[in-house]
């Protein structure tokens, strides 16, 4: 159980880094929002992997943290998309 959790831990870290690098290097706003979500998925993978690392059942508190993280990421993505649309509407004029 712990070995597989460690694999996911590393995977999560890699996905987070990939998202973060893309977010900081691209100028396109929509790509930024997508990259932010990729980084977010990586972060939550790290949380879930950490929850599964100990002996016995996975830790529910870390799952609760991950759930709250998902809710916040969805809300923030919505706000970001509204702003991106406004930028592109202005460009279209």
């Amino acid at each position: 159980m712990t070995a597989r959790a460690d694999l996911f831990l590393v995977l999560g870290a890699v996905v987070t880094l990939l998202g973060a690098v893309r977010l900081l290097t691209t100028a396109d706003l929509l790509r930024r929002v997508v990259a932010l979500n990729v980084a977010g998925v990586g972060t939550l993978l790290v949380l879930v992997a950490l929850a599964a690392r100990g002996p016995g059942d996975p830790d529910p508190v870390l799952h609760a943290l991950a759930l709250t993280g998902i809710v916040i990421t969805v809300a923030v993505t919505g706000l970001a998309l509204v702003l991106v649309r406004r930028v592109e509407e202005d460009d279209g004029d």
Partner: protein, 488 residues
């Protein structure tokens, strides 16, 4: 006293809902701002008298319930927030054009609620949620700046949320290691080592992104300059400070790390120099003021390497003295910057409006038309540069003394050069404003209506406070130490 902590958060939140529903939004905003200042005074007095104020939401003990704890730095920043929000709200009520639209009032109150939640939250995870609330409110405020502000707002949002992810991973690591998630006493459960250094590194990167710590500051000047005139002061004076306070709390709570501390201090020093030089070189007034915020964040984190030796070895009495001085100095600079920067941004917003352009060159001769506003900008600049008897001077003096005692000579150099750079940037603006308009110019601007007193007064009050608060500021310095565990 728990009720006060809960009210500090719930009052602005309820105010935001009411302000979104009723037409008299400015009245709601002003009433909440006055009440918030009163609550801030009560809370700060209680913390100064009895030590940190603790509470549990709904009577549920940690870790099931949400633990509340207001320490000295939290109370001091809460007090700063009360003063700044009231002054900015008074300005916004006098100049509706400076707000960017009716959405201003609910968004300001949501942002204040977010900041207060950050200040009173005692566990890592509630702090995460509160930081997100603060970010969302602040991004909404930036977006009020209209079409030029949308792009900086998206950039700000993406960068700030990325910072939150780094912080969230740090939270998970601490939890997986120690269990409970109380913020202020992690040091016992997390002994110094690779795990603590990883957590601190993630927190420094994550909250550094949110606080615009060099070299993670690129988003700030664009966002703070594009925001409406009555928004920029709140962003620079308060929003940046929320994540900065959390960074310092985590650092002292986990006991610090020597190498990382030195790195943070060096980044702070570079921030002072790079931000200062960039401010001097800016063509546009609001970007000039915004770059000065990058420099001022650098001053505050200079305290980190000076506090760390005492955290690592609590028995060292000499290190404890240095830590206390450095902590007080850094926190006083943080508070002084809040007052002075809010005044500078309010004055800059009024000057841009009167001049009809936001270039420094457009300000030529404006002192004849808006003398009080130019004076406000100058006084705020003196307070930012840290000339005596301003509050920033007291803070810099403490930090200088700590740097000399702690053997950090480079910090002394940074503090002196940084003050000169700030003075140069402000002097350039004031000198342009005082210059006589060209006589041969046919299109010399007609003398418009003078700036009304109710527009000029809030900024002037803040600037005078930033200078005057330095006199008899011992209580404030004592307040910033309460409940932090620094130098004990």
């Amino acid at each position: 006293m728990t009720d006060v902590l809960v009210l500090l958060v719930l009052l602005p939140l309820a105010g935001a809902v009411v302000a979104a529903l009723v037409p008299a939004r400015a009245v709601v905003g002003l009433v909440v701002a006055v009440a918030q200042l009163a609550l801030g005074v009560v809370a700060a007095a209680a913390v100064l008298r009895d030590g940190p104020v603790l509470g549990e939401l709904g009577g549920w003990a940690q870790p099931l319930g949400i633990g509340l704890r207001l320490d000295g730095p939290g109370a001091a920043v809460g007090l700063l927030s009360g003063v700044v929000v009231l002054a900015v709200a008074a300005h916004a009520a006098a100049v509706p054009a400076a707000t960017g639209g009716p959405g201003y009032w609910p968004l300001v109150l949501v942002t204040v609620a977010g900041l207060q939640t950050v200040l009173v939250a005692d566990d890592w995870f509630t702090t995460y949620v509160a930081l997100e609330l603060l970010t969302v409110g602040a991004v909404g405020l930036v977006a009020l700046g209209g079409r030029r502000a949308y792009e900086p707002a998206v950039r700000y949002l993406c960068v700030a949320v990325l910072g939150s992810f780094a912080y969230l991973v740090a939270v998970a690591l601490v939890y997986a290691r120690t269990g409970p998630l109380a913020l202020h006493d992690g040091a016992a459960a997390m002994p110094p080592g690779a795990a603590t250094a990883t957590v601190l590194g993630l927190v420094v990167v994550g909250l550094g992104l949110k606080s615009a710590l060099f070299p993670l500051h690129a988003w700030l000047p664009a966002a703070h300059a594009a925001a409406p005139a009555a928004v920029s002061p709140l962003l620079s004076a308060l929003v940046v400070k929320g994540s900065l306070v959390v960074l310092l709390r985590v650092w002292t709570g986990l006991g610090g790390d020597a190498h990382l501390g030195t790195l943070v201090g060096l980044l702070g020093g570079l921030a002072v120099l790079v931000g200062g030089v960039a401010a001097v070189r800016q063509e546009r007034l609001k970007r000039l003021v915004a770059y000065s915020t990058v420099a001022q964040v650098g001053y505050v984190v200079l305290l980190v390497p000076l506090v760390t030796p005492s955290l690592l070895d609590p028995t060292d009495a000499a290190a404890a003295d240095v830590a206390r001085l450095a902590w007080q100095g850094g926190m006083l600079i943080l508070l002084a910057h809040g007052l002075a920067k809010a005044a500078a941004f309010l004055a800059a917003g009024t000057l841009v409006q009167v001049a009809g352009g936001d270039r420094v060159a457009d300000l030529r001769g404006i002192a004849a038309r808006a003398p009080v506003v130019v004076m406000t900008f100058g006084v705020a600049g003196v307070a930012l540069a840290g000339l005596p008897p301003s509050l920033a001077f007291v803070g810099k003096w403490q930090l200088l003394t700590a740097a000399v005692a702690g053997g950090a000579w480079w910090a002394v150099l940074v503090l002196l050069v940084g003050g000169l750079l700030t003075a140069a940037a402000v002097a350039r603006v004031v000198a342009t404003a005082l210059r006589r308009p060209d006589d041969d110019e046919d299109d010399a601007p007609a003398a418009g209506a003078p700036v009304p007193r109710r527009v000029a007064l809030p900024a002037l009050t803040l600037a005078v406070l930033a200078i005057g608060a330095g006199v008899g500021s011992a209580w404030l310095a004592d307040l910033t130490l309460v409940g932090t565990g620094v130098g004990t």
